[in-house]
Symmetry: C2
Subunit: 315 residues, 2 copies
Amino acid sequence: MITIADIEAAAARIAGVAHRTPVARCRTLDALAGGRELHFKCEQLQRVGAFKFRGAFNALRSLPREALAAGVVTHSSGNHAQALALAAQLCGATARVVMPRDAKEVKKQAVRGYGAEVTLCEPTLDARQRAADAILAEHGGRFVPPYDDVAIISGQGTVALELLEQAPALDAIIAPVGGGGLLSGVCLAARARAPHVRLFAAEPRGADDCARSMARGELVPQTAPDTIADGLLTSLGELCWPVIRDHVERVITVSDEAIIAAMRLCWTRAKLLIEPSAASAVAAALSEEFRALSGIERVGVVLSGGNVDIDALPW
Amino acid sequence: MITIADIEAAAARIAGVAHRTPVARCRTLDALAGGRELHFKCEQLQRVGAFKFRGAFNALRSLPREALAAGVVTHSSGNHAQALALAAQLCGATARVVMPRDAKEVKKQAVRGYGAEVTLCEPTLDARQRAADAILAEHGGRFVPPYDDVAIISGQGTVALELLEQAPALDAIIAPVGGGGLLSGVCLAARARAPHVRLFAAEPRGADDCARSMARGELVPQTAPDTIADGLLTSLGELCWPVIRDHVERVITVSDEAIIAAMRLCWTRAKLLIEPSAASAVAAALSEEFRALSGIERVGVVLSGGNVDIDALPW
């Protein structure tokens, strides 16, 4: 059971190291959202370009010194790998990161650039876990999961603590959902600090395990996800799911087409350089489904990250 | 003679309409700047995507009601056109904007989108001025110049008022220079509020009339400018020049290659979607010439705008 005290403790641990990211506005997007005020929490401006740094740094700062000295291990193809690598560097710990062989070269370089040891493996979840297990058996150290973890969820919840201070009087918050670390952290922080704020998830139609889980009332694992939002391919975590089930009013699923259109709007009109996963939250805010809801004027939209290959844009 | 009182009055006029844009940080760029702290004032997040809105809105808000009713006129191929169009729309005034025939279609559409009447002309400064004169003769109205104007300079100066509040204890500020409206406004605000802050201009090597003017001690007009920084092609204004001459410590000229490299770094590492003109200030901050100066730890870098064609990027 994660409490607001955990999230507040995370906020204290990451203060001065993680950025307090700004909240941006764009009237053009407000108009497209049906005349509502959209308040964009800019986690693409967070260190490593994504909210993931909050959780990773909180997790490492929460470890006792001896555990840190033994090093940390994870597997990730994306932002968590960079976040853990930087967090470990800042804490003076060794990070060993398993990445799929087909991960983008620029991501492997970024992880190595933060001083982590990268081990490549076949691009399956099974191979990733086996490679991580082998590293743990050989070197010891602590496995730091990407989302299904108390310290990680508490760290991600600090996004909402800040957003509620920076944009007071919000009626609703929309956050993207992949594994659910960000969304469940946001739910817990918002419920404690602003219980009236309505909470929404944005999910790609091609990776809609959260929407299916909510419809069925039980955790439905992701199978064969297919979406441009490469940060949202994972299955909902077991710790994250009950939080989301109990606090999220609605999961808004969006097509890849809508995600790309929202991303393009953010780039061209709002000058917010976001990745497709973040654009899914914008697409949800602009959707007919969300616009049809009454009683919502001021909306916090969590832009989760901006790690995108600018040499291979989807337009 | 423009005073801090003019800039403060401008700040009051634009408050609540112009965005108070955030200040962003990026450790990777700090490291590349020689370990200094760079504080990026994000005018790409300003309305119309550039600082130009501040001056245009201040100019229109400064006009008596009868003058506004007669409409406003300008010629511009770029951000000033959009800024004036939006400012006029917000003030309930008619805007007539002369644009060169070869201006990008997306820019013409943006200006029309804000409700302005667009007149196309041949792409020479002379043709632009003649077309604007013809409109003034036919319809009347007030000509609002892009930079060489007290209300415009005062409006742009509000950038520095905010920056100095948001990032206290700066040792230096770098702003790009084209016509000089932004730079001279920044100079006047900074001199009044924080006289110890050292002031620098960033200028493309292919449009270095400011550097040449400083070297010669007198205003040297721009001839045949050639740079990717399309916002900095203009000649220094006559009102702007003496302010710059008296307050700018050094003009740092940067190559288009350095501008593109800085722009790419801002996009990929800092997630700041800026246009080449803004990137010239970043390139200056990263230059050997600027890094060689001693006594500078904390630098404000004015990112002037983010209006770039994302379908025709320079890489």
